[in-house]
Symmetry: C2
Subunit: 417 residues, 2 copies
């Protein structure tokens, strides 16, 4: 039989695949003539095809056994598609409004069929570069994060279900190792993959590699990442993993999912918003000085955290009897409940800041950069934006435990010149 073993698909063989796959052809109401197929993968790792027919559409994402943007010289298990499908389904169950529906998964082919997020959906990062405001963004992202992270933590799980799920996602170790390398290691050492806006940031990159206090903190974060199975995290929740319209916010691409620290997801999202903030000066022109947009980004950061906090605690309060972490017979008075929740949220803020800062640093001096900065063509201007982002990230990473709330973080952002 065709497709009984793995093969990379192209525009043509994909049509044959669809014809042979009822769960996909039925999505097109079996009108399989005149399909348009377009490979649009702009991400770093995989191939993404948009398939549109006269009676329906979907997206096909296929993982090949290497990293797309580097090539076959950097092998990477195609089993990542399995974990992406698992996570899309689990997070989709918990937050159906913000995760595209999975129509089909084929483990042999490392292939996922899912809802096509049709235009005007665009990648959030591109919207941020274009200076577009999304009025529901903080509300939607806080909702997605609160629901997915709460319900896969021990605040909701019993330890039997938790350890079973943890064990399953231990299988996604190759993707975790990629994060370990590119987020927690490479930026802090000489690595062939590192790059930065040279020569402007040469001494900044060197300073990162020689900052003992910074490396001490990074070690703590890496150990949390490698050892702490707090919840099923997305694992790659930057602004390139979110597609948006003014009404809709959809989280894609959880191939890095595993049971890890909650702050890694929130930090990835907020850290990338802060990168977008620092990039704005590079996008300012005579028509638009981007000042109002910078203020909007800061409001999104503040609202996302504060709404997350509120919703996460509301889920906790509504599910006091669920989960093995805090048994109601022990945490049995409101003063104690308050103490416990305050402590949880405070630690989560500190983790979030730490991971967020680490994610910022790696985008400036590590292998994979972000379009927010890359699209600033003037290297001198770009490096200025990057340097301010880097200074802020280093400060936050080292001093994160001094911050009591998100407002203090936002004012620290504003103080960087």
């Amino acid at each position: 039989m065709a497709f009984s073993e793995f093969q990379p698909l192209n525009d043509k063989s994909l049509v044959d695949y669809i014809k042979a796959t009822p769960s996909l052809s039925s999505k097109l109401k079996d009108h399989l003539d005149n399909l348009t197929v377009k490979e649009v993968g702009d991400g770093n790792l995989n191939f993404v095809f948009i398939v549109v027919g006269s009676h329906g559409s979907f997206v096909i994402k296929q993982a090949l056994p290497y990293i797309r943007c580097i090539g076959e010289s950097w092998p990477m298990t195609k089993e990542r598609a399995y974990f992406e499908a698992l996570a899309l389904r689990e997070h989709g169950r918990l937050s159906p409004d913000h995760v595209p529906e999975v129509y089909h998964f084929d483990r042999t082919m490392s292939l996922i069929g899912m809802r096509y997020l049709e235009p005007p959906h665009i990648i959030l990062r591109k919207g941020l570069i274009a200076g577009i405001e999304y009025p529901l963004l903080a509300d939607h992202m806080s909702d997605y994060m609160a629901r997915t992270l709460f319900h896969t933590s021990l605040l909701y799980h019993n330890t039997t279900d938790h350890r079973k799920a943890v064990a399953e996602f231990c299988g996604n170790v190759e993707l975790c190792r990629l994060t370990e390398q590119v987020v927690f290691s490479d930026p802090y050492k000489v690595s062939e993959y590192n790059r930065w806006t040279s020569p402007y940031l040469d001494s900044d990159a060197e300073a990162v590699r020689e900052d003992n206090a910074l490396k001490l903190e990074v070690a703590e974060l890496k150990s949390l990442f490698c050892e702490r199975a707090q919840a099923l995290i997305h694992g790659d929740l930057h602004t390139g993993s979110v597609m948006v319209t003014p009404d809709s916010t959809q989280v894609i691409d959880p191939e890095f999912a595993f049971y890890g620290p909650i702050g890694f997801d929130i930090g990835a999202f907020l850290g990338n918003l802060i990168l977008a903030f620092f990039a704005q000066d590079g996008h300012a022109d005579e028509q638009n000085d981007r000042k109002a947009y910078k203020a909007w980004i800061l409001r999104i950061i503040q609202n996302t955290w504060n709404l997350f906090h509120k919703k996460f605690i509301a889920l906790w309060d509504a599910n006091k009897d669920a989960g093995d972490a805090y048994l109601p017979a022990i945490y049995n008075n409101s003063e104690l409940q308050q103490l416990v929740q305050d402590k949880y949220i405070k630690e989560l803020l500190h983790d979030t800041l730490g991971f967020g800062a680490a994610k910022m640093i790696r985008r400036i001096v590590g292998v994979a950069h972000v379009e927010d900065f890359e699209s600033i063509t003037d290297a001198s201007k770009r490096s200025g934006c990057e340097r301010r982002a880097l200074e802020f990230a280093k400060l936050i990473l080292k001093e994160r435990r001094k911050f009591q709330n998100i407002e203090e973080v936002v004012s620290a952002v504003q103080q960087i010149q």
Copy 2:
């Protein structure tokens, strides 16, 4: 075939089992007449048979699908024998001098055959009650803990091997849940299984259940226990899991083994030594006021921690290139190496104190008590010893982060009246 499905063995059927099992009968050089078989299990969970023949001996440990000391009303997976055998072999490989050799494992029968720790080996707890000094105890236990914990942590493991092993031991969740209940939950709530020296400690037990600050700290420890896969820990390393002679120290009974926080093992051992210390006044008589012995116990506590620290760091220094936690290209100067190690050990001391204190508390107001106190027949005297131990444990659990070294802990023990 006989024994092709699980059956609880008795003195008689055990002999048939041995005859049918070459790896066991060969240990007796096939001299199977006149075997003496004696069930000696004094532990809480399992059945242990000593088998002695004219040409050899061994111990057979069998897990039944419930908790021995409670009975069939408290079911417990017999698969724990599988994890005990795994851990005995892994820890035995890493610390062969201090773990009995496994001769045979039968998963169907939940049965382990291992070296018989012949007399004069006795359970350390009994030695501590009898007031016997073991000159090599601190040296041996620090060696066992440093080797087993270092080599199964990310200081030695790469993350691929680590996550694979973590996933495997996630299967031992039922035993983890037993710990969660009896160590981190029951003592802090009303539970049918709790008991204490009543009426003397009635208000002390109530105070534990109403101490918000204590419960806040216990939640943090429980979360570490449930979420942090730091190393393959023994999981039940009290003084009843150690057999000793003046020359030999052997760690048995790792059926609770899983990837958890290192401080849980060290804390279990040191916490139980502190219980032994506080029990001494109950064992004093005209011949022996136990003052010298109390000082010896404190020296063992101090030496065990300090030797552990020294050996753990020596292993780290000798294996700088191993393990994914601290890459030598990043942690590349001696000042940073020092910072990193000091931070690691300081946090480990605080974890150790927290878990040690929690293990003490549960032995005084929880379901399973220790012979150190139980053997003090005068209830008034017993409760006095227990109260001092409880006061110390509560103090340490709440204030553990203030302690910089083990000497400060030892002097805090001495200050409890």
